[in-house]
Symmetry: C2
Subunit: 151 residues, 2 copies
């Protein structure tokens, strides 16, 4: 989670919503380390988790991420949670809970859906305060900048 937080911090510094994700395989080897790149890629689906899963599958030369653990600084949104089902990810460990945009412990609670075909083990709230503080800082700077831009 330390590396995920570092990635989130760097993303925030470059104008992205600060979220970072890291994937380790069953032996604890690093398979992917990615940050949110929605702005720089101009791609609303370029969330840290989805980018990390794609990168990990490429890195491992496998289609599925069975045995892998994904660490992410924020509760995944419904898109990313649902993609974890497709990737057959084994374990999800996330930082801050996201009551507005989350899709694991909030909203559609993707893994609790009856027809969900694969459910990773989930642990939430790990180093949540550090992750939440990063996000709060980012959005408060953004608001201040937008306020300053007003005539």
């Amino acid at each position: 989670m330390e590396l995920a937080l570092t990635l989130a911090r760097e993303a925030g510094a470059s104008g992205e919503v600060p979220v970072g994700a890291v994937i380790l395989d069953a032996e604890g080897r690093l398979c992917a380390a990615q940050a949110n790149q929605v702005e720089s890629d101009s791609d609303p689906s370029a969330h840290a988790e989805l980018r990390a899963m794609r990168a990990a599958a490429r890195h491992c030369g496998t289609k599925y991420l069975s045995g892998c653990t994904l660490y992410v600084t924020l509760e995944p949104c419904p898109m990313c949670a649902a993609s974890m089902v497709h990737f057959k990810l084994s374990r999800l460990i996330f930082g801050a809970y996201d009551p507005k945009g989350g899709g694991v412990e909030h909203g559609p609670r993707i893994f609790e859906q009856k027809k969900c075909l694969h459910r990773p083990d989930v642990i939430g709230g790990i180093r949540a305060e550090e992750s939440a503080a990063l996000l709060r800082g980012f959005f408060s700077r953004l608001r201040a900048e937008k306020g300053a831009e007003k005539p």
Copy 2:
């Protein structure tokens, strides 16, 4: 939808689950035409819809797909439906309903979630029988091939 069905057919012929997606902008101009490429990309998130939305955003040089209509031969899964929220897609027209894997009229019904921040207009069931027949044919061939492989 004719083009989406053609793309689906071609995908099926090359061993992919036959699903095709096409995006038109507000003036009816073609922005993207993509098929499911999960097998050839070895990427479980390479669904036709998500690929088409990324391609359309690149093609249009915009981050969001406001004003655009996405035609897809099968009801989108929860991942693709949730990504339509992020892309701010205006209109979704889909073919066959998918009671097992769909996320629009089935499962988490992504656009009906209270906290869903953007809801495209949705029309389902367009040329549904042709799309469903493609999928049925594909899976029955797959089962026959798998049966033939058994010793």
